[in-house]
Symmetry: C2
Subunit: 272 residues, 2 copies
């Protein structure tokens, strides 16, 4: 069985992964699409990853209000206690869209993972809602997350800097600010460590809109799909942490806003 | 016929491509290997690409002298007239190794291309000598060279920023400072534009040692081989210059110092 054939996704909802630095003006296609999908219901802004939660929330509140969304509540989540409180669950119950801002994906996962808030997000996804995340907020939605801050991300050590994500999407590892920060090395390392996972690298002002077992691309940049299921060799697991990476036969697809990807089949497609 | 099958290399000599920022101390493996290959014959340092030719030449002269090389003449080449003069050809005739420092690959190609100096370099390669280049000096040795300075190198426009190189190696496009500067986008664009070319991205303090139709890797980083011969679709040639790139089914190999690559077969191999 090919790795791709294992990937099945049943929720009715939509996951939107943004590579960071999305256009926050009225012409910004990504936030406009999220506003449209909210269908006038509230968009909950969750700043669990941010060191500047008030400023961050205010930026998205302004952007979404300018796009016609009336209610944009800010969910401050600084501790696991916050994520276990009643307010989080109540806010989500009234919303159609839940939006993770950026910051630090490890902070998001360590504060939200396994809490009632986490379960409420999953339930919103199952029942047809939209879960969106930008930058660290996008990475947090994958099964595992790269979070190395080292410069030399092509080293074997980078592959060890993976942490479990909120797993709105199974079998997926998501990276962001992709071309802008030169993150191929760490995404290849993550996929090589276990090719069961599909690697998805998203450029800034670019998004993946994921429904069931396929996604489309939107925005001005590219999305890189790193597929390791034909991998013939790698040195992960055998080389010391400081060694340079070695990995043969990775398949790479570069997608733009005219493209989609059939995750079940593991194949890119041109839409138009 | 697969693209790889067209790649034939007959010269007896060696081409050494360095990704920049190589260790210049006595323990630096790459410059040590070049010193060893010089077999006590002169190493000609050519600073055609550099804006600071004296300082650059002095740095390499010191490094190679510390490694036991007695004669390290500096070939200043600031104009095509310099590259057409007798001194260039005389220096090479007495040397075993010719070394291009970094700087600007377009400057190297536009000053050296098609001159008697260029022909003397080719003759040294044919007759068993070593042609080495670091950073821009490595890119200049390929058939074509990426030289975009734009930040958004994943755009179609990046693919148009290619200039003919000195072509010591046919069917090859070389990029450097690869992981450090996040240059996957521009290398994929170059390969996608014509998959006849094999893309080779070299990390800092890392080198490719190319003899006939295969190369080995040395140094502390990785070398990325981008192979487009299975490409099923791309938007180069149809999309406007500002569009994001789209390219399906690129094969990617990440090699370290234990690996080699059989260019004729188009396959990576593990040496140890």
């Amino acid at each position: 069985m090919k790795a791709a054939e294992q990937r099945r996704y049943s929720p009715r909802g939509t996951v939107i992964l943004i590579g960071g630095a999305e256009d926050k003006g009225r012409d910004g296609a990504i936030l406009s699409e999220i506003a449209r999908l909210s269908a006038k219901d509230p968009i909950v802004i969750c700043t669990a990853g941010s060191s500047f939660p008030e400023e961050t929330a205010e930026r998205y509140r302004s952007a979404f209000r300018a796009l016609g969304v009336k209610s944009v509540p800010h969910l401050r989540v600084r501790t696991r206690q916050d994520a276990e409180g009643a307010r989080a669950v109540e806010l989500i119950a009234a919303a159609k869209v839940f939006f993770f801002t950026g910051g630090d994906q490890l902070r998001i996962a360590s504060i939200v993972g396994g809490t009632p808030l986490h379960r409420a997000i999953e339930e919103l996804h199952r029942s047809g809602g939209v879960i969106a995340g930008t930058s660290a907020g996008a990475s947090a939605l994958g099964e595992t997350m790269p979070y190395s801050v080292v410069e030399e991300e092509h080293r074997v050590a980078a592959a060890l800097s993976l942490a479990p994500g909120l797993r709105l999407l199974n079998d997926v590892v998501i990276d962001q600010h992709f071309a802008q920060r030169g993150r191929l090395g760490r995404l290849v390392a993550a996929v090589t460590e276990n090719p069961r996972l599909l690697g998805i690298g998203i450029d800034e002002n670019t998004a993946v809109v994921w429904k069931k077992a396929s996604f489309t691309v939107m925005g001005t940049g590219a999305v890189y799909v790193v597929d390791g299921h034909e991998l013939t060799r790698s040195n992960l697991g055998t080389a010391p942490a400081g060694a340079a990476m070695s990995a043969f036969d990775i398949r790479l697809h570069v997608l733009n806003a005219n493209d989609s990807f059939d995750v079940a089949a593991g194949r890119p497609q041109q839409r138009c």
